[in-house]
Amino acid sequence: MINKKHADLNDAVAGIEDGSLILIGGFGEVGNPTELVHALIDQGATDLTIVNNNAGTGEVGLAALLKAGRVRKIICSYPRTVDPHVFNELYRANRIELEVVPQGTLAEKIRAGGSGIGGFFTRTTTGTPLAEGKETREYEGETYVLEDPIKADYALVKCFTADRVGNLTYYKTARNFGPIMCMAATTTIVQCQHYVEAGGIDPEHVITPGIFVDRIAVVAQPMLESQLIARGVSYTEGDQTKGIAL
C-alpha cells in the first residue's frame, strides 16, 4: 500500500547526500519548512546548493543551516530580507556563493525542471546585467533571454494538509513556491500540519497531486521564524531533539 508518511522529521530527511541541490519552499518566513530544515541540520548533509526565494532570517531555519556551514551556494531572488546577518557575513567573507535570479524566472526555471522542459525564453532580464552572456532571441520584435531549468535532488516543502498518497493542500499565501518545488525534485519531502487518509481531500481541491510527493512528516504546530526569533532561538545542531526549537 502506498504510504508516504514517515515516522518523524529525522526519518523523512534520512539519506540526503552531501553536495545535493535542495529546493526549500517559502517566501519570507511564510511557507518555510523550518522544522524540516532543522532536521536537515541534524541529519548532517553538507556542501549543499540551496534554492529559496530569500537567504534566511535571524539564526533559525535556512539561516541556521547557513550558519552551520552546510551551504556552498544559494540561488535566490532576494537575499536581503528581515535580519539576513548570517548570509551577509558569509557572503562578505567569500564563504558562500550567490546566484541572483529574478523571482519569476526562478519560479519558471523550477517549473520547467519539473515539467521536462529543457529551456525557455523570457523577456525578463533583457538589457540588464543578469542577461550577460546568455543567449537571446527575438519574438515579435522584443528580445528574450534563454534560461535553463532547475532540477533538484530534494525539495523541502511545507503544506497544510497531506493525505497518505501525497496529495497536498496549502494555506493562503504559504502556497507560494510549494507546488512547483514538489514537481522539480527527485525526492520531495513535505511537512504537513494536518494528515488525513486517502480521500480526505476533495479531488477537485488537491493542489499538489501525490505523484510529486515522496515523503511526509507531520508537524502539527509549525513555528514561523519570527516566533522562534521572538523566543530567542538560535538553532544549532541537535536542538530539535532537545526540544528547544520545537
Partner: protein, 230 residues
C-alpha cells in the same frame, strides 16, 4: 520471418495484459494507453497499490462504473467512463503533461505498429499519403515515462513482423521502448537487440527469431511464461 498465415499461437490478449500486470511494482504511477493496455488494470495483483494516470487530467482512478452510475464528464484518455477512488486528483493538461514529460510516470503502456531493435517506436501513422494524421499524447509518453512498455501482437494481421531492424513508418519516439509484451514473448529492448526474457508456452526462441525482423538474443534467465488461462 514468414508471410504464411497461421493459427494464432502463444498468449491471448488477456494473457498478455495479465503478464504485464504481474510486473508492475507496488506503488507505481502508471499511464495506460488506449486499447489493449486498458486491460492491464483488470489483472493487477491484489497486493499492489498502483495509481493510474490519464493524460486528460486525472491521477488515481478505478474501473468503469456500472451502467447506471456513469458520469459522462469523468473519462480516461480513451474517452471511456471511469470512477474516482480514495486519493483521486484532477489537474489541467499542462500539469498532466508536466507529469509525463517531467519523468514522474513510472510506467506507460502503449500499442505499437513497429518497434525497432534500438527502441524506436512507430505507432501513430502509416505515412500513407491519404491518411489523416493524429498523434494525441503518444509522443509525450514515449519520451517522458521512466519505463515505456509496448503490448502488441508479435506480427501484423498479414503476418509481417512488428519488431524490426529499423522502423519504416514515421516515428513516435526515438530509442524509447524498454520492454515488449507480445503474444509470443516478453522482450527487453537493450540498445541494439531484442532480448527475449520469457517465452509463451509452446513457443521457441527460434520461432520468435523467425517472426522478428531484427537482432534477437536470449536473456540470461530465459524461461517459459506461467500464466493462467484467460
Amino acid at each position: 520471418m514468414t508471410g504464411t498465415p497461421e493459427k494464432k499461437v502463444g498468449l491471448s490478449r488477456n494473457q498478455m495484459a495479465w503478464c504485464a500486470a504481474q510486473d508492475i511494482p507496488d506503488g507505481s504511477m502508471v499511464n495506460l494507453g488506449i486499447g489493449m493496455p486498458e486491460k492491464v488494470a483488470e489483472y493487477l495483483p491484489a497486493d499492489r497499490d498502483v495509481f493510474y494516470h490519464s493524460e486528460n487530467g486525472i491521477l488515481g482512478f478505478g474501473p468503469s462504473p456500472a451502467e447506471d452510475s456513469i458520469d459522462l464528464e469523468l473519462i480516461n484518455a480513451g474517452k471511456k467512463p471511469i470512477t474516482e477512488i480514495a486519493g483521486t486528483s484532477y489537474f489541467h493538461h499542462a500539469d498532466s503533461f508536466a507529469m509525463i514529460r517531467g519523468g514522474h510516470i513510472d510506467i506507460c503502456f502503449l500499442g505499437a505498429m513497429q518497434i525497432a531493435e534500438n527502441g524506436d517506436l512507430a505507432n501513430w501513422s502509416t505515412g500513407a499519403a491519404d491518411a489523416i494524421p493524429g498523434v494525441g499524447g503518444a509522443m509525450d509518453l514515449a519520451v517522458g515515462a521512466k519505463s515505456v512498455v509496448v503490448l502488441t501482437d508479435h506480427v501484423t494481421k498479414k503476418g509481417e513482423p512488428k519488431l524490426v531492424e529499423r522502423c519504416t513508418y514515421p516515428l513516435t519516439g526515438e530509442k524509447c521502448i524498454n520492454r515488449i509484451y507480445s503474444n509470443l514473448a516478453i522482450i527487453d529492448v537493450d540498445a541494439n537487440a531484442f532480448v527475449v526474457q520469457a517465452l509463451a508456452p509452446g513457443v521457441t526462441l527460434e520461432r520468435v527469431t523467425e517472426l522478428t525482423a531484427g537482432q534477437v538474443r536470449a536473456g540470461d534467465n530465459l524461461h517459459t511464461i506461467e500464466c493462467p488461462e484467460l
